[in-house]
Amino acid sequence: MKIRVRLAKERVARFISHLDFAGAVEKAVRRAALPVAYSEGFTPRPKIAFGSALALGGTSEAEFADFELRELLPVAEFKTRLEAQLPAGIKVLAAREVSKNAPSLMAQINAASYQVEAQLTGRQEKEIQTAWEEFLEQGSIIIVKETKSKRRDLDIRPLILQARLRARDAGGTWDLLLRAGSTGNVRPEEVLQAFWNANNWHGFIETIHRTGLYIESRGNLLSPLVEFKVRGEVEGNR
């Protein structure tokens, strides 16, 4: 059977990378002696598949993982046993059985929502709010993506699906719904950096919190966990 779990990553756990987060969950699974299936080969690993990675430093209430079990187990028992073995800062928020043939999280997830707190020292509430609206009104927003070997231009405007700013003097709170996954991907810090650049400002991101991962289809948001439609609201994912 396959169980899909929604996890939270908070406090001290925000300082571990996505790979180390996966390793910590894997060790918790072994300690809990859960009957997960193991891969074949030199280094057998429990069959756990994670959703899209969160950058180190961010907190999240929307980390998803699929666990393949070799025996049937009540979901509630799975949840309790796993929870008891997770280190500080990692929590199980919800769990449910999904079909063994369900498409992988990586294949399904194509949107992510974030709440970002940032500082813009010396700027007024109104000035920030207006600049943000103008920023979004642009037909295209080009950023330069750099990898080790190459640089390429990317238009991130179509990847910003929804955005709301609550500005205040010297900063604000951004709620962003962004394209994620293999069909296009932009990270919240890239969006805000483009915003600072457009205005020649030096902003400082204080916290990034991931609030949801979604399967977006024609403007509707589906949660990977709760397989029913959620109206196109950023906060509606539970």
Binding site: R11, V12, G23, A24, K27, V29, R31, G57
Partner: protein
């Protein structure tokens, strides 16, 4: 469970002011999880309720320190006591050091984020000589005076132990207490003493004097060192009564009864050895003459197989690791190794747990065992012939023949391995160019083996530089000077051309410094301080090693590194470490040196007759063969 113990899964609260500053700093440094704590099995106790507080300071970065078994043992030993606590701290990487200094923050313990200065004891483990500047850097970041004599009554006691403690002289003036040998029991005695002093009151000097009476404890400041005009040590003498002239190391008699780290902290980060570690035995009686560990950890003491199987079970249950490593100096020498490996595979193999061995002997038996545990042989297999000719292998008492090695390689090839690693040393006593050419010859012979299918893909030859170590038969030898070492490395390098051959070697300048630190006396301490002030730290990391600054430090203080590193010491000269006793007698080391120079080998005393090293009678341990029970 334990008194005052906070459950490991307790939420990490914002503990103090320091934590608030860290929230800002940590996102800016590389791998912040090095500095957060909060890992599984971390033990956090309430400082207000615990009389004796110690922090274990590992003078290298987190990933290295968290791979060290000895630290895990001491963490368990101290934290099991209701009246004591132990927390951890590691050397910060340069980025974190910069942040701490820029923000005026002290070096702190991971568990409760407490400034090091607030502990009663700071324990440094001395695993490697190239960490000495890190020790000074950590003391400085903690705001603790570097020199033991400058510390105030309220400053923590700075304690050190580990293999380099068998010649701590180069850093002795920075240390309050040095522990010789295995720490499990003696650390407990030191903690008892500190607790009693805190209850009853007493001066730091009185405490140090009382500590010096504990067997295995060395208090450097109570010894005066005199020197001859030649520069050699004339005498090392206690400066008062009640202080032993020689300090003998401590050992545990029965490892089955010893505290076993059954709940080691499980790091979030991928550390150097990210696996469960099962210690099979201590000591090694093979008697390789270059090997300090082989001398100072004697005698061999094994754990029972039943004990090990039970300990493995608990370790895996408590950590969730997918790999268990059988760690000892030469693990395959464990008398019931086959029985143990079979039992572990049978019990844990189906849960996706792998058994691994850190190193292999170059013989058929070793390959058989490796075959059993590496079911799919993707990785390479490593052998350490150490020297390129039979003559030189006899000199160093590495009792492996070329036939043994080639037979083992062929067997490994048949089992499916295609990639090999061979370890050698360059600069060994009596070495000639023929021995060096022998290294390349041996590597070529391995590379040219033609398997039935496929071919050998790679033979990686690693050549490290020989560093003479205290308490070994080679302690009197001088290291070959840096230029000549380089020539010899390049000679080997030039011979290892070929598409399947790869050569790796160590910097000769780092090895020179390691030799000075290994065989130095107290006159090296000001050099270390000077080098640190000039900016040296993380010297074991080649990207941070600044030989130019070290040269300047030697010059500024007026110390000639060659006197310590390259000089052959006359046998009648007093050695800077003669007052520290590992149990193996100097007479034995001398006779082994003589046998080395005449090319005579000495058999493993745990397999054949006693070689008379003196350790068993000195430490009152009954002499017995491997596998014999009490």
């Amino acid at each position: 469970m334990l008194n005052g113990l906070v459950g490991p899964n307790k939420e990490m609260e914002d503990l103090n002011e320091l934590s608030k500053s860290l929230e800002r700093i940590l996102p800016r440094v590389e791998k912040p999880a090095r500095y957060t704590g909060g890992e599984w099995n971390e033990v956090r106790k309430n400082h207000a309720e615990i009389p004796v507080k110690m922090v274990l300071a590992f003078p290298d970065i987190y990933e290295v320190g968290m791979s060290h078994l000895g630290s895990k043992i001491l963490y368990q030993v101290v934290n099991t006591r209701p009246d004591a606590l132990m927390e951890r701290v590691f050397a910060p990487w340069v980025d974190m050091e910069k942040e701490l200094r820029a923000n005026g923050l002290p070096l702190y313990s991971l568990e409760t984020r407490t400034s090091l200065k607030e502990f009663d004891l700071i324990g440094f483990t001395l695993q490697y000589e190239m960490t000495y500047t890190n020790i000074l850097n950590m003391l400085d970041l903690a705001g603790i005076p570097l020199w033991a004599k400058e510390r105030a009554e309220t400053d923590p006691l700075v304690v050190a132990g580990g293999p380099c403690a068998f010649n701590p002289e180069p850093i002795a003036p920075f240390l309050d207490l040095v522990v010789l040998g295995e720490g499990e029991e003696v650390l407990g005695e030191i903690l008892d003493l500190v607790r009693d002093f805190k209850e009853r009151g007493g001066s730091r000097q009185e405490l140090l004097q009382a500590a010096a009476a504990i067997p295995g404890v060395y208090v450097p400041q109570f010894y005066t060192v005199e020197y001859l005009d030649t520069g050699a040590v004339a005498a090392v003498r206690p400066d008062r009564t009640g202080i032993p002239a020689r300090v003998q190391k401590r050992v545990l008699k029965d490892l089955n009864q010893a505290t076993f780290p059954q709940r080691p902290v499980v790091p979030f980060l991928d550390v150097v050895h990210d696996r469960a570690m099962l210690e099979l035995f201590r000591g090694c009686a093979r008697g390789c003459r270059f090997c300090q560990a082989g001398m100072i950890y004697r005698p061999v003491r094994e754990k029972d197989t039943a004990t090990l199987v039970e300990q493995a079970r608990r370790l895996l249950e408590n950590t969730g690791y997918g790999e268990i490593s059988l760690t000892s100096l030469s693990s395959l020498d464990y008398s019931r190794i086959e029985e143990l490996i079979d039992a572990l595979i049978k019990e844990h193999g189906t849960e996706g747990v792998r058994v691994s061995l850190p190193s292999l002997r170059a013989d058929s038996f070793a390959v058989e065992q490796a075959k059993k545990i590496h079911e799919v042989r993707r990785s390479s297999i490593t052998f350490a012939p150490e020297a390129g000719s039979q003559r030189l292998r006899d000199v160093i008492n590495k009792n492996v023949t070329e036939e043994d090695l080639l037979r083992a390689v062929i067997q490994a090839v048949e089992a499916g391995w295609r990639s090999f690693k061979l370890y050698f040393m360059v600069g060994l006593p009596t070495e000639t160019d023929d021995d060096l050419l022998g290294i390349a010859e041996l590597a070529r012979r391995v590379a040219n083996i033609k398997p039935n299918r496929g071919s050998i893909t790679r033979v990686t030859v690693s050549t490290s530089n020989f560093v003479p170590k205290p308490h070994t038969p080679f302690q009197w030898e001088g290291q070959v000077d840096s230029e000549e070492l380089k020539r010899r490395q390049l000679l080997v390098h030039g011979q290892l051309k070929g598409k399947r051959l790869e050569h790796r070697w160590h910097g000769t300048e780092q090895s020179l410094l390691e030799a000075v630190m290994s065989k130095g006396d107290r006159r090296i301490a000001p050099v270390i301080e000077r080098a640190w002030r000039l900016g040296c730290r993380l010297d074991g990391w080649s990207e941070h090693f600044r030989f130019d600054l070290w040269q300047q430090a030697f010059q500024d203080i007026g110390v000639d590194p060659a006197f310590y590193a390259n000089r052959t010491i006359p046998e009648d000269e007093i050695l800077p470490w003669d007052h520290l006793d590992p149990g193996v007698t100097k007479d034995f080391l001398l006779s082994e040196r003589m046998r080395a120079l005449s090319g005579a080998s000495t058999p493993d005393c745990s397999q054949e007759r006693c070689s008379g090293c003196g350790v068993c009678p000195a430490l009152d341990i009954p002499i017995r063969r491997r596998g014999e029970t009490k």
